[in-house]
Assembly symmetry: C2
Homo-oligomer: 214 residues x 2
């Protein structure tokens, strides 16, 4: 599975979501064209993405909706599986993530919320109390953390990432606007809101200059 492009994996999530909607509506089969339209891509891309894994479709009938959905959930590792998530950094974003109920339903369970500020220790968010990040090694190991969310300030991010990988965490969702050195065998996904906002700003400047010089 090492050779699957990240963009394909991303689309698998979107296919799942569309198939869920389709299943609720009572659809039995779906064409690669409809599935592509549903997530904003084309039929050829759908076929190419799914071919990485299996031959799911029946010529002339399309893909069986609930079978395909269950297979994709299994491929994504979110069928009958709960991943244990620790949030490092109990700032506004970290606490909002822990308090958000949606992830649990999707197979991700929050098991720890850590911070290095003693004033925050013991405060309750969602089902968790803030604990001392000095105990990161022990807590991550004992609670068998699979995935860490990094919501610390940028200058602290690399140190925390190094600590996490030293105790065996292999998957990290990073919200800190930092360029991290990522060890081998570790997956880091970056969610960088400032970069997204700046992309929108760039677009607006372009719009404005076009309307100034029509």
């Amino acid at each position: 599975m090492d050779n699957i492009p990240q963009a394909t994996v991303r689309r698998l999530s979107l296919y799942c979501r569309y198939l869920e909607k389709k299943e609720v509506e009572g659809g039995n089969f779906i064409s690669s064209r409809e599935l592509g339209d549903g997530i904003g891509t084309n039929a050829a891309q759908v076929r190419k993405d799914l071919c990485f894994f299996d031959r799911f479709g029946t010529p002339g009938r399309g893909y069986p909706v609930s079978f395909l959905r269950r297979r994709l959930l299994a491929i994504l590792g979110i069928k009958d599986q709960t991943w244990r998530v620790a949030v490092i950094g109990a700032g506004k974003l970290g606490c909002a993530l822990v308090g958000y109920g949606g992830f649990n339903r999707q197979g991700f369970e929050f098991v720890a919320l850590l911070d290095n500020n003693p004033e925050k220790f013991g405060r309750v968010y969602g089902a968790l109390r803030v604990e001392d990040s000095a105990r990161l090694d022990e807590i991550v190991t004992r609670r068998r953390v699979d995935i860490a969310m990094l919501t610390v300030p940028a200058p602290a991010a690399q140190g925390v990432l190094d600590n996490l990988t030293a105790v065996g965490v292999r998957a990290v969702l990073n919200f800190a606007p930092a360029n991290l050195d990522i060890p081998a065998q570790v997956a880091v996904r970056n969610v960088d809101l400032a970069v997204e906002l700046e992309g929108l700003s760039f677009f607006l400047v372009g719009l404005r200059s076009r309307s100034d010089n029509p």
Copy 2:
């Protein structure tokens, strides 16, 4: 500027951030190689990205750090410019975004926080009070909103997007896990945490199956 790839725009943000760090450290010139290393790309990509805009470098000396940074900030539309942002959906995430102080420093100012739940009206987050999303048209127009952040539940997202674009909003950062129909001349960037988490889950399943079958 219509032909600039989104990945290039994204890297411009990262270049700016690295150049800022370099400037603070007192660097005067930087090679395309160092700039590439700093954000995890290579020298050829740096030159290609910057060539879309201008010839910034001097052969043999590299790029002048603070000049390049100021030019990139201007290109991104975040130099001497503040964009006015409305957040639609005063759930946990929406309120956390408004409460987060970092965007303001970066040229993005929150000017409205809307929700359709009367129980939330008047609650204060950051410098804003929650207002009735039924007044979206009036509020967006009067406060000259440039960018909207969509933090509503998925089924509501398309309707809100349509309302926003009808009153002239052209840039949207969407957090709702919905496949939106995006009108022409409107830029939507999606931040989908579930998709990122599922990507990590996919990676972990791959790791696990490799260690089971070495």
